[in-house]
């Protein structure tokens, strides 16, 4: 198992390196920080623009490979460079990463757990009313883009506020500024702020997971080993849980990795819409400001998160399925 995971890790490291380089090259050539400086008022001189660009390792007259070298060297020393405003990317990164991770972790775990449960239950009750209801529900959820979902939730919260005369559920930011009170009050405040963004992220995941889990569970329902389990005297419920679900969750690990891809995009939308100052929001802002180093930092974050999810999925898979441990 360790060897299996080590092999995967090596592969991911190769992927990560290639991806980081390509994304930097793409960002470095596609974005135009020069235009950003040239548009400043009063218009700086060409030499001064050049100087500023070079200082920030953004000068498009330097070959992109060379710029990447500088950037990568910094990266290896734990320095992500400076934003286009000259502030430290590291600081911004450190501030925002927790905001994003909070959202991503809670959203993905919630979506996965609920989705697996709903899917398995739905499969066992195939074609009953509960299955049909869940199916219709998941289809509607699947057909709603995350950003639209977030917008709808926000609009709902606004409507609730207007109706009630005060804020029922918070829909901007991730904490109430200058909140008095102890740690308990802070936690409660956090949780409340998490509610809508997490919901908009988790529900999409829930729908996806539940559809897949339903399908794999249905596969398993006809499996010979389930019949064996019943033949030796286990009740259907026990057999389903111990032999059926246990096997049917294995393919979910693949789903987990795939779902994380979508999740990151979704998080970017959610953050922007709910005013969370996370990585996603930063990214959108940075693209609009031609802030190459910030964009590169977010790209790096995305790649690492996605690969970490992949590795986690591999580890989960290996832990759940003895058949992959060999080799």
């Amino acid at each position: 198992m360790t060897r299996y995971l080590a092999g995967r890790l090596g592969y991911y490291a190769a992927l990560l390196t290639a991806a980081v380089f390509l994304s930097y090259a793409l960002t470095g050539t596609a974005l135009g920080p020069r235009a950003y400086f040239e548009a400043k008022q009063p218009r700086p001189s060409a030499a001064s623009v050049d100087r500023q660009l070079t200082a920030l390792n953004l000068n498009d007259r330097t070959p992109v490979v060379e710029r990447f070298g500088t950037w990568a060297n910094g990266l290896l020393h734990g320095d992500l460079g400076r934003t286009i405003h000259g502030t430290s990317v590291n600081e911004e990164f450190g501030r925002r990463i927790w905001v994003s991770l909070r959202l991503l972790l809670v959203g993905s775990l919630l979506g996965m757990l609920l989705g697996v449960a709903a899917g398995a239950w739905s499969a066992v009750r195939q074609y009953r009313l509960s299955d049909r209801t869940l199916t219709v529900l998941s289809f509607v959820l699947l057909s709603t883009p995350v950003f639209l979902f977030a917008l709808l939730l926000k609009n709902g919260a606004i409507a609730a506020k207007n109706a009630a005369g005060h804020e029922v559920v918070p829909f901007t930011g991730y904490e109430t500024p200058n909140l008095a009170g102890g740690i308990g009050a802070h936690l409660a405040d956090w949780a409340l702020h998490l509610l809508l963004p997490t919901l908009s992220l988790a529900l999409g995941g829930l729908a996806t997971y539940s559809r897949y889990q339903r399908a794999t569970m249905l596969d398993v329902l006809g499996a010979d080993y389930l019949r064996t389990a019943e033949a030796k005297g286990l009740t259907r419920g026990r057999a389903l849980l111990k032999h059926g679900l246990r096997t049917a969750v294995i393919p979910m690990t693949t789903m987990f990795a795939y779902a994380f891809l979508g999740l990151f995009t979704g998080a970017a939308f959610t953050e922007t819409i709910f005013g969370w100052h996370g990585m996603g929001e930063w990214f959108i802002q940075a693209v609009n400001e031609q802030d190459v180093n910030s964009v590169a930092a977010v790209n790096l974050f995305a790649a690492v998160v996605v690969l970490a999810a992949g590795l986690l999925a591999d580890a989960l898979h290996a832990a759940l399925d003895p058949r992959v441990r060999v080799g």
Binding site: G7, D224, R227, T228, A231, K232, G233, L234, R246, P322
Partner: protein
């Protein structure tokens, strides 16, 4: 007679209104073995599953199943669960899919123990180890921690049996327990089943399509056809004096290793698929040579046919209006069924015929890889490790061996038409190592292959006409001409030329195999490689295909390389035989000599393991069980590769043994000039 342990009365099962079992009555007495025989779709497995209520939810079950007088059908789930595994246990066909892949074998067996007995974790584990020991799994304590995929097929089936007898059930239902196994392993497993039955005193219901397995194990037999029992009798009587034409045909359709029984009797038509709507009257009427008008009016009941018969012991019942007639006349199968007259090939002396295929010292190994992107080599698998084959024009070479013996790899190496890794392949006089592209293309048309599974070897998305034209087009035959050949080919294999625009799924298994054969014949090959061509077919259909092959060979002067695990079929079809073990040919020679006077200990063991569809002969036969599983081809041994399992070697004096351990035996003829070689230091 004592009251039966298990009684089944008028059992019916249907799936969404399609009947699969239509009124089955069975009695099972303490300690006896009941054989349930039938072809695919006959409802035999469904019957077994219905007894335990293990059918999917879409099945509707009717009738009555009583265990010791207690009705099982319609029992609340909890009470039924208490019966399952405790009083009635089941052994399933495919032990790989029947074990949960993610739990350890030991845990799964212990679970069976703990479900019914109030014992602790360690006690259950200990019991599991005992059970594994009982079924002959070496090193049971370690085997407990193995996962199902780490076991070989035979070991898995043993473990399955161990799990079934964990709670000393009264009834053991075994659903095709040896179907996926090699003959030597099958013999082992059947032996284990007997032991387990003896130890637990359980009555056994043995479901099988294989008359040989039934003949050797059952006390009584029930034959199923189209969801009903058509004949039930004590085993000797059933085989000696069948009273239902279907049973008679079945017995005549099975090729026999002892060569007795004459030409194979094909039962015309095909068995009805499960759930096919029944027509009024006898379900067998469309295929029955004895059918009369009254057969089609009402379904004949399963009744005893008086005591007038010669060996009228026990109850012999048959569902046929002419059962009395059959009981009185006791015809041979060939007297009832029309048997095709096969044109006999004029045998020219072997030396006068051209060589079609000559393989010398063929080897092929595959690297084993580890790791992901940067794959490291981790040893080699010697799949083929010294194969010699020799086929002349117009003859059939039967290539025999168990799974993993390298038969298929040998075929694919020959068909690659490229330089082999080691050794030499000469096809129609041409060395495959020296071929250029044009020569390869030309040779492609002269050697063709027919695969085992007709469902898999025909592209489901292509009409049969296109399937047949494809090899011609690949040989750059003009389209129009290819089209013209299609009806001709269909006729040649006994199919209706008008069906050229149908898709493969519209044909039955036997017909699809005929299409495969037609496709192979399209380019007029000299050599046909037949890779287990009938092992996916039902016995009654298989006979027809075998007859077709014989007929084509005689008419077209083809040579066959016939690969099979089934020695009886090989005995029936082959002129010469080559036996493979662990990637090597260990014995070659004329079929008559190799299969009647085997010289290599492995061949002898193989032959001894094949069950005969003849109860007295089967009982009288000496049992020679080969120990263990075939070793892995990943390891190479010094000396004779068969040594670890060789009974001859085991009986040798120590000084003689040394030779087996150090020298690889060469292929030596039985006598100068005799076509019979064996690679053994101590043959005969």
């Amino acid at each position: 007679m004592t009251t039966p342990l298990l009684t089944v009365r008028d059992l019916t099962v249907d799936f969404d209104g399609h009947p699969a079992v239509r009124g089955v009555d069975l009695d099972l007495h303490r300690g006896e073995t009941l054989g349930l025989v039938g072809e695919s779709g006959s409802g035999k497995s469904v019957t077994a599953l219905a007894v335990l209520g293990l059918l999917p939810a879409t099945a509707r079950t009717g009738g009555s199943v009583r265990l010791d007088g207690r009705e099982l059908l319609g029992l609340p789930a909890r009470q039924l669960a208490a019966v399952r595994g405790r009083r009635i246990a089941m052994v399933f066909q495919d032990p790989l899919s029947a074990f949960t892949p993610v739990h350890r074998i030991g845990d799964q067996i212990a679970e069976a123990v703990r479900t019914h007995q109030d014992v602790g974790r360690t006690a259950a584990r200990k019991r599991a180890a005992e059970l594994l020991d009982l079924v002959g799994i070496p090193d049971p304590a370690r085997a407990l921690d193995a996962f199902p995929h780490e076991f070989s097929g035979g070991m898995r089936q043993r473990a399955m049996i161990a799990m079934a007898v964990a709670n000393e059930p009264d009834v053991l239902l075994a659903d095709e327990p040896t179907t996926a196994l090699d003959v030597t392993i099958q013999a082992q497993v059947l032996e284990v089943l007997r032991t387990a039955r003896r130890e637990s005193g359980a009555a056994l219901v043995l479901v099988s399509h294989d008359l040989g397995v039934i003949a050797g194990s059952a006390d009584r037999v029930a034959v199923m056809y189209a969801g009903r029992i058509v004949e039930a009798a004590p085993v000797d009587e059933l085989f000696a004096a069948p009273r239902h034409p279907y049973t008679l045909g079945l017995i005549g359709a099975v090729p026999r290793l002892d060569g007795r029984g004459g030409p194979l009797v094909p039962i015309p038509g095909r068995p009805p698929a499960a759930g096919e709507p029944a027509r009024p009257g006898c379900a067998f009427a469309d295929r029955c040579p004895l059918t009369e008008d009254r057969c089609r009016t009402a379904e004949p009941p399963l009744t005893g046919t008086g005591t007038g018969s010669a060996s009228g012991t026990g109850d012999h019942r048959a569902a046929c209006v002419r059962a009395d007639h059959l009981a009185a006349t006791r015809p041979a199968p060939a007297e009832v069924y029309p048997v095709p007259a096969l044109p006999a090939a004029v045998p020219r002396p072997r030396a006068a015929r051209d060589s079609v295929l000559a393989v010398r010292g063929l080897t092929r190994s595959f690297p084993r890889h580890r790791g992901g992107l940067l794959r490291r080599r981790a040893g080699e698998v010697h799949a083929v490790d010294g194969v010699d084959l020799d086929i002349r024009q117009g003859e059939t070479l039967g290539l025999v061996g168990e799974s993993g013996s390298g038969k298929s790899t040998t075929l694919y190496e020959i068909l690659r038409l490229a330089a082999p890794q080691g050794g030499r392949i000469e096809l129609l006089g041409q060395d495959t190592a020296a071929l250029d592209r044009a020569a390869v293309r030309r040779l492609r048309s002269r050697v063709q292959i027919v695969f085992q599974d007709p469902a898999a070897s025909l592209d489901p998305r292509m009409p049969v006409g296109d399937v047949l034209a494809e090899p011609l087009l690949a040989q750059r035959t003009p389209k129009a001409e290819a089209r013209r050949r299609v009806p001709e080919l269909l006729r040649q294999v006994g199919l209706d030329p008008a069906h050229a625009d149908r898709y493969p799924h519209e044909f039955s298994g036997g017909q699809r195999q005929r299409i495969s054969i037609a496709r192979a014949l399209a380019v007029r090959p000299d050599l046909l490689v037949l890779d287990e061509p009938v092992s996916a077919l039902d016995v009654s259909v298989q006979a027809g295909v075998l007859n077709l092959l014989q007929q084509l060979k005689a008419e077209l002067g083809l040579a066959y390389l016939f690969v099979s695990h089934d020695l009886s079929v090989v005995r029936h079809l082959a002129d010469r035989v080559a036996v493979m073990y662990l990637g090597r040919t260990v014995e070659t020679g004329t079929a008559a000599r190799v299969l009647t006077r085997p010289r290599h200990p492995y061949t002898r063991a193989l032959l001894a393991a094949v069950p005969l569809p003849d109860p007295p002969a089967e009982r009288a036969r000496p049992r020679l069980l080969l120990a263990g599983d075939p070793p892995s081809p990943a390891e190479r041994h010094l000396g004779c590769p068969f040594r670890p399992r060789c009974p001859v070697h085991a009986a040798l004096a120590p000084e003689q043994r040394a030779r087996c351990a150090t020298e690889t035996p060469p292929a030596l003829p039985a006598a100068p000039g005799v076509d019979h070689t064996a690679t053994c230091h101590y043959p005969d």
